[in-house]
């Protein structure tokens, strides 16, 4: 919503653009008006107006005489007659892209891209014909009404103790955020000392589609043993140490406002986890038929929250997935499914792709890195894994 109407800041013929020329400008205008034939009817001063609604504003130059319009319209290229610039920029910049047209006695400029809230635009009429005056005006586009400021609502994993070879964090925000320089606002401290370059900084930034979740990868070069970064700088996280993941409040949301507050996640680091998750060790607790009680899956360790939420699904005996709600509990070590419709007695399966990962990027059947000197047995599994369970009849 707009806080106010767009306002013209000034309007002046080009012949007297500055303060010293204001009087001259006034005289020039008066002279121009006096010279306008009375037969033309009511005298109208040429002026720019901003018309349209937010997101679809366009400029209109009104009040030109028919003679002026006729002269101007003879020009082969109308695009240079009206030009619009972003105001307040010192270096020379080209004018806005847009289209100029003359319809019903009005010259209009429609910008190709919507005008930006909070910016001021300078629009100028350059008839380019001897005897016609230039005109200039500025319009301030009101800033958007202030929205509630964004904040961090969760950082996964939530556990207070994380493995030394932790692969990623997920940062969840209450509102869409801006991208482009996110790594400036994220720092990791071991006690009071800042950890140098702990994260994989990539230009594309791993946002979800509405910019409410950022995936933050810890530099895999420092996790993987045998690589130069690992040898030179060691792991970003060291077993037995305490850390703070600090989010700076200066991080702007999509509307340009900073976060409501900074955020700190404090955690300790335990030994590396190099063991792939083993679904055969998971504990499934199923409710009885007739209700929508929860199916609980206990992994025995925290899992990657995003992957577990997306990949696991419950299928009936025909292989059709059940609709329902999913939550995770106990620091992402438990997956809970409640069906929309009551359970029927019978056979079901919990199915998921083997790309499911634990906190260290170990997948089902394959560790994050395979040690070819001391190999962990790589288990051959299908693309998907299915764990059967049974819903008992109502008593």
């Amino acid at each position: 919503m707009l806080q106010g109407r767009p306002q013209a800041l000034f309007f002046t013929p080009r012949i007297a653009p500055h303060a010293a020329g204001v009087l001259l400008s006034a005289f020039a205008l008066i002279g121009w008006i006096l010279l306008t034939p009375l037969s033309a009817g009511s005298v109208q001063t040429p002026q720019f107006k901003l018309q349209g609604v937010r997101g679809e504003y366009f400029f209109v130059l009104d009040g030109l005489t028919e003679e002026v319009l006729t002269t101007v319209s003879r020009q082969s290229d109308l695009s240079s007659i009206v030009e619009v610039y972003v105001s307040g920029i010192e270096e020379p910049v080209p004018p806005l892209l847009g289209g100029v047209s003359i319809v019903d006695g009005l010259i209009t400029f429609h910008p190709r891209y919507p005008l930006q809230s909070g910016l001021t635009y300078r629009v100028q009429f350059e008839p380019g014909t001897a005897g016609l005056d230039s005109l200039t005006a500025e319009f301030a586009i009101p800033a958007d009404a202030e929205q509630p400021r964004a904040e961090i609502i969760q950082i996964y994993p939530t556990a207070p103790v994380l493995p030394e070879n932790l692969l990623k964090f997920y940062l969840h925000f209450s509102a869409p955020m801006s991208r482009g320089d996110v790594y400036r606002y994220i720092r990791l401290f071991q006690d009071e000392a800042e950890v140098e370059l702990p994260f994989l900084e990539i230009e594309q930034e791993l946002w979800d589609s509405d910019h409410r979740r950022l995936t933050l990868l810890i530099d895999p070069g420092r996790i993987k043993r045998g690589l130069v970064p690992h040898k030179e700088a060691g792991t970003a996280l060291v077993k037995g140490q305490s850390y703070r993941l600090v989010i700076d409040s200066g991080w702007q949301d999509a509307t340009g406002n900073p976060l409501r507050a900074g955020f700190e996640k404090i955690f300790r680091v335990a030994k590396s986890d190099r063991i792939p998750p083993d679904p055969e060790q998971w504990i499934l607790s199923s409710p009885g038929a007739g209700g929508t009680g929860p199916l609980r899956v206990e992994f025995g360790e925290p899992m990657d929250q995003a992957l577990a939420m997306r990949l696991l699904q419950v299928e009936d005996s025909s292989g059709s997935p059940l609709a329902g709600s999913v939550t995770m509990a106990e620091e992402e070590s438990v997956w809970i499914f409640c069906p929309d419709d009551p359970w029927a007695a019978g056979e079901y399966t919990l199915s998921f792709a083997k790309t499911l990962e634990d906190l260290a990027g170990n997948r089902i059947g394959r560790p994050f890195e395979v040690d070819v000197f001391e190999p962990v047995q790589e288990r051959v599994v299908k693309e998907t894994v299915s764990l059967p369970f049974r819903i008992q009849p109502e008593r």
Binding site: L96, P176, I202, P229, D371
Partner: protein
Amino acid sequence: MKRAGFSICLLIFCVCLPAFGANALDSLQVGNAEIKSAGSLAFGPEGILLVGDSTDGSIWAIDTGDRTSSSSAAAINLSGVDGKLAGLLGIARDQVLINDMVVNPISRKAYLSASRGRGPDAQPVLASVDASGTISVLNLEAIRHSKVAIPNLPDPSVKDRRGQSRRGEAITDLAYVDGQVLLAGLSNEEFASKLRSVRFPFSGADIGASVEIFHGAHGRFETNSPVRTFVPFEIKSEPHILAAYTCTPLVTFPTAELKPGSKVMGTTIAELGNRNRPLDMVVYRKNGTQFVLMANSSRGVMKLGADNLDTFKGITERTDVSGVPYETIEGWTGVQQLAKLDEGHALLLIQGEDGASNLKTVAFP
């Protein structure tokens, strides 16, 4: 940036390649190209610009109509290209993010992909810059185009049952090699290593293919890591890919090994070390020798001799091995993007100390 100079036909994924030259333009239809985000770029045949759209999960082919040949380019030098682009777009400079830069190999004009805005509603922008410094923004509402979905993304219906799926894939690099578009992606959930391929001109029946790329770390640990940036090049006239991984090893593998569903073990030829990340690569020849230039986040621009990589056995021992030697080019600081302007010159996108982005033409070192 990454362009193939291959004159021989590749047998990527063991498919017979269609004749692509004559019907490439015919495969495009005039209309509104509803690109959601303009990221990685590559030039295909006949001035067709290939655009990676991470938000839409697709690759677009856009007819630039820019087919006036120029064998050697006039230098492109333009200070404050981001500010000037912001002026055209009617927005503040800090709201323009330049995502990639390539050079049209026919006209030798520079092409930029950018975002107008920083939020999820940012508008995609494709623009060209000529030797006079004139910036032209492509009008995407009426342009010949086609698109194809990125192969093998998760079934979108999965998100409907759960209400919301936040899974996405950032296209980290794109290249066109004789009728194939190759792309590297980085998921925002799985730590997967997939190099994908799709034929061009795009066909609705072509679901593309993907390959998992592994590498050895000093012989002991076999690891799987996403490719961050890559460039096609030749070893002994055989087409290869030179890829930089997210975990920093620089790896080569023959393009012919990229068969659908296969597991490819690359040869680790160098490591870039700590406190560094590769940004962009370009291949060129000078005095009969092939070189690779690589822009890095903190170690400047590196120049690697790429003529004798076939004799290099790779980093396979447990001892410290530095890999293929490289030199750092003096004075090339702040380089964000590299492209081959012509046989003798590189076009650089440089971020100055004042934060502004500048285009600069330099002779290949």
